[in-house]
C-alpha cells in the first residue's frame, strides 16, 4: 500500500493520537480509541491555499494545483467515515468545492472497527455502529488472530487487488466472529441520545430560557467545533506581504463572536447563548431539514474535550425534556 499510495494513519505522539502520513507500518498506533483531531482535517484542511498572487502594476494570479496523490486513510473509525459522507453533501451540489472534492476522490478509506468504544461514544444513537462498513471503501475488523476484511467499493477493490497474497476468502465462522465482535462493541456503548422528534422539539423551543442555562458555563472556545468531524465552517482571507500574497481558506468556529460579526458592527448572534444554541440547531435541526441527516456522528470528541463539561448528549436529552 505504501508503494502505491500516500498513507495516513493513527500515530501516537506525546499524549495525543493524530492522523499523520506514515512511511513505515511500525509508526502506526492501532491500539488507539480515536484520534484527537478527526481525519476530516486531511480533506478539509485547517488552512488551504486557494491561489497565490503577486502584486505589481497588475495583479498576477498563480493557480494552486489540486492534489492528485492517491491517498489512503488507514484506521479511520466508522463514525469519522460517516462524517465524510455528511461533509460530501456540503461540498458537492450546486457550489462545488474542488479543493475538498479532489482530495476526497483520490482518497481510499480503509477503516478499522472499534472493538472497545470510549466512554463518550454514542454512534449507535445516530444510525451508525462501531463496526459499520457502510461509509468505508474497506473495513478491517480485528477478530482475534485475523482481520475480517469487508470491501465496499471499486476503490476498495482496486486497493485490495494489490494485496491478494495477504488475504484468504472469509469463511462463515469468520463472519460469525465479526458479528460477535460487533455485538460486543455495540453492547459496550453506554451513552445514548434520543433524536426522535428532535427537529420538531427544537422548532418549538428556540426562545426557551433553557438555552441560557446551557450557555451559562460555556467559555466560548473553539474546542467542540474544531474537533467535530462534521463541523465545516470556514473563513476566506487574503494574506499578503508587500509584493505577494495568497487567498486562504481557514477553519472558523461559530463559537467565536467574530464569526457573525458584520461590517456595520452589528452582530446577529451577540451572546454566547445565541452561539451555543446555533451549534445545537445547526446539527440537530437545520441540517436534518436541509439535507435529511443529523450532523452528528456520535464520536464524543466534543464531550471528551470540553473544559467545562458542556455535554451534547446531556444537552439534547435535557432539551427533549423541556416543557414548551
Amino acid at each position: 500500500m505504501l508503494a502505491e499510495y500516500q498513507v495516513f494513519g493513527p500515530v501516537h505522539d506525546d499524549g495525543v493520537t493524530l492522523f499523520r502520513q506514515i512511511k513505515d507500518p511500525s509508526e502506526l498506533d492501532l491500539q488507539f480509541s480515536n484520534s484527537s483531531m478527526p481525519p476530516k482535517a486531511l480533506l478539509l484542511r485547517q488552512t488551504e491555499t486557494l491561489f497565490k498572487f503577486r502584486l505589481g502594476r497588475t495583479v498576477k494570479i498563480d493557480r494552486v494545483n489540486l492534489p492528485d496523490d492517491r491517498t489512503v486513510i488507514f484506521g479511520i473509525r466508522p463514525c469519522d467515515a460517516r462524517s465524510l459522507t455528511i461533509l460530501d453533501q456540503v461540498f458537492k451540489g450546486e457550489y462545488e468545492d474542488p479543493y475538498y472534492l479532489a482530495k476526497r476522490k483520490n482518497t481510499v478509506l480503509v477503516g478499522l472497527s472499534c472493538t472497545r468504544p470510549e466512554v463518550n461514544c454514542f454512534c449507535t444513537s445516530l444510525n451508525d455502529g462501531p463496526a459499520s462498513a457502510e461509509n468505508m471503501d474497506v473495513l478491517f475488523t480485528d477478530i482475534g488472530e485475523k482481520y475480517y476484511v469487508e470491501v465496499k467499493s471499486d476503490k476498495g477493490k482496486h486497493l485490495i487487488a494489490g494485496m491478494k497474497g495477504l488475504l484468504t476468502s472469509a469463511k462463515e465462522e469468520n463472519e460469525k466472529k465479526k458479528k460477535e465482535v460487533e455485538r460486543k462493541a455495540v453492547a459496550s456503548i453506554t451513552r445514548s441520545m434520543n433524536i426522535e422528534g428532535l427537529v420538531n422539539t427544537l422548532d418549538n423551543m428556540f426562545e426557551n430560557p433553557f438555552w441560557q442555562t446551557i450557555a451559562m458555563k460555556c467559555l466560548g472556545c473553539g474546542v467542540c467545533t474544531y474537533l467535530c468531524p462534521t463541523c465545516h465552517c470556514f473563513d476566506i482571507q487574503d494574506e499578503t506581504t508587500v509584493t505577494k500574497g495568497a487567498r486562504v481558506c481557514v477553519w472558523d468556529s461559530c463559537m467565536y463572536p467574530e464569526y457573525t460579526s458584520q461590517a456595520s458592527g452589528y452582530n446577529p448572534r451577540p451572546g454566547r447563548m445565541n452561539r451555543v444554541r446555533n451549534r445545537v440547531y445547526h446539527k440537530f435541526n437545520y441540517f436534518p431539514k436541509n439535507l435529511d441527516v443529523t450532523a452528528c456522528v456520535g464520536c464524543g470528541r466534543c464531550i471528551d474535550n470540553c473544559p467545562v463539561n458542556v455535554d451534547i448528549v446531556d444537552v439534547v436529552t435535557r432539551a427533549q425534556e423541556v416543557k414548551v
Partner: protein, 326 residues
C-alpha cells in the same frame, strides 16, 4: 477535606442575600471523573454543589465572562455580586484581577475552600480508563474512590496535578467566608522543571517548542479558560490591523503562543487551566512558569498575593533591572 453540608449551607446563605446574583461552584459531571461548573440562583440550587479533589476548574473566569449585551428598553443592568467557590490558586486569580482593576473587590463574594491538591483528569483517566459512571473521589491520606464495587486508594502524588505538588497556597489568599480550616503551607515552588529545561542546548529547546506549537489548532481554549485573559478584544481577533494571521501554521501559532505567554508575564498565577483545556496537550504551564520565575527573580514579585500591591507592569521602580536596555 471540605465538609459538603457546610459548603452547601454557606452557598445557600450567600445566594439568599439580596445583593447576590448567583453563586458559581461545582457539581457532579455527566460521566466518569468529570466535574462541571454549576450556578446557584436560588437557595435550593445549592443542594447540587460539591467539592472534591476532582474540582479542577478555576471558576474566577466566570465573572470575567459576564456579557454586557444591550438591554431591552427600560431594563436596568443587574449589578449584583457574584459568589464564587475558590481554591488557593483560584483566589490568586481574583486577587490579581482586582489588583489590575479588571474587577472590583466588592463585585465578588469569595467562598474559600482549603485544598491540598486536585486530580489531573488526564492522569486519572489514563489509570482508570473506560469509566462511564460518575465516580466520587474522597480525600484521606490517599485519594479514595470506588469503581464497580472495588475501592481504590491511590497515593496523591500519583494523580495530583503537577502544579499542586509545588503549591504554596493551600488556603485561599483572599476570601469572604472560608469553608473549613486554614491549612498551613508546606510545599515550595522550586522551579526544578524550568531549571532543568533551561540547561538544555538552545537548538533542543527550540525544537521542543516548534513541535508543540506546530500542533496547536488555535481553538483558543487556553485563552477562554484563563481568568486573566479578559481583554475586551483579544489581539488575535482584531481584523484591522490584523496582527496575527488566521492561517494555522508553525509561524502564526508561535506568535500566538508566545504572545499569550508574554501577555501573562507578571500576571499568571499558575492555575494551569490553559494546559488542562488544551486538546492537543501542549505543556503551556512550562512557558508560564519560566516567565513567572524570571519575574520573581528580577522584580521580586509574585502575582496574586496581595490586593493592595500594585500590578508589576503598571509600576515603575528605579531598582528594576534594565540589562536589556542597550
Amino acid at each position: 477535606m471540605v465538609n459538603i453540608d457546610k459548603l452547601r449551607k454557606t452557598v445557600r446563605e450567600t445566594v439568599a442575600r439580596e445583593d447576590i446574583k448567583y453563586v458559581v461552584g461545582y457539581e457532579k459531571g455527566t460521566y466518569g471523573f468529570q466535574v462541571s461548573p454549576c450556578f446557584a440562583f436560588t437557595p435550593e440550587d445549592a443542594d447540587k454543589f460539591i467539592f472534591s479533589p476532582l474540582c479542577v476548574n478555576n471558576l474566577v473566569v466566570y465573572p470575567m465572562l459576564e456579557e454586557k449585551l444591550p438591554l431591552p428598553k427600560g431594563e436596568k443592568e443587574d449589578t449584583r455580586k457574584i459568589g464564587i467557590i475558590v481554591k488557593g490558586c483560584d483566589s490568586k486569580a481574583a486577587v490579581q484581577i482586582i489588583q489590575e482593576r479588571g474587577m472590583k473587590r466588592e463585585h465578588v463574594v469569595l467562598i474559600g475552600v482549603p485544598c491540598t491538591g486536585v486530580i489531573d483528569p488526564r492522569k486519572i483517566r489514563a489509570k482508570f480508563p473506560h469509566q462511564m459512571k460518575n465516580v466520587e473521589v474522597k480525600e484521606e491520606e490517599k485519594f479514595v474512590f470506588t469503581i464497580d464495587g472495588t475501592t481504590h486508594k491511590v497515593p496523591k502524588e500519583e494523580l495530583m496535578f503537577d502544579k499542586c505538588k509545588h503549591c504554596e497556597n493551600p488556603t485561599p489568599v483572599l476570601y469572604d467566608v472560608l469553608v473549613g480550616d486554614e491549612i498551613e503551607s508546606t510545599k515550595k515552588e522550586d522551579y526544578e522543571t524550568v531549571k532543568a529545561f533551561e540547561k538544555k542546548p538552545l537548538r533542543e529547546k527550540w525544537d521542543h517548542w516548534r513541535k508543540q506549537f506546530d500542533r496547536c489548532i488555535r481553538c483558543y481554549a487556553c485563552r477562554n479558560v484563563c481568568p486573566m485573559c479578559y481583554c475586551k478584544k483579544c489581539m488575535v481577533d482584531q481584523l484591522s490591523p490584523q496582527w496575527v494571521r488566521r492561517s494555522v501554521n508553525l509561524s502564526e501559532n508561535t506568535v500566538w503562543n508566545i504572545m499569550r505567554a508574554y501577555h501573562l508575564a507578571g500576571r499568571c498565577i499558575g492555575c494551569g487551566e490553559c494546559e488542562r483545556a488544551c486538546p492537543m496537550g501542549i505543556p503551556l504551564t512550562d512557558l508560564n512558569k519560566k516567565i513567572q520565575r524570571d519575574v520573581k527573580e528580577m522584580f521580586n514579585y509574585s502575582p496574586g498575593l496581595n490586593v493592595q500591591e500594585k500590578a508589576l507592569l503598571v509600576a515603575f521602580n528605579p531598582q528594576d533591572p534594565e540589562e536589556f536596555i542597550l
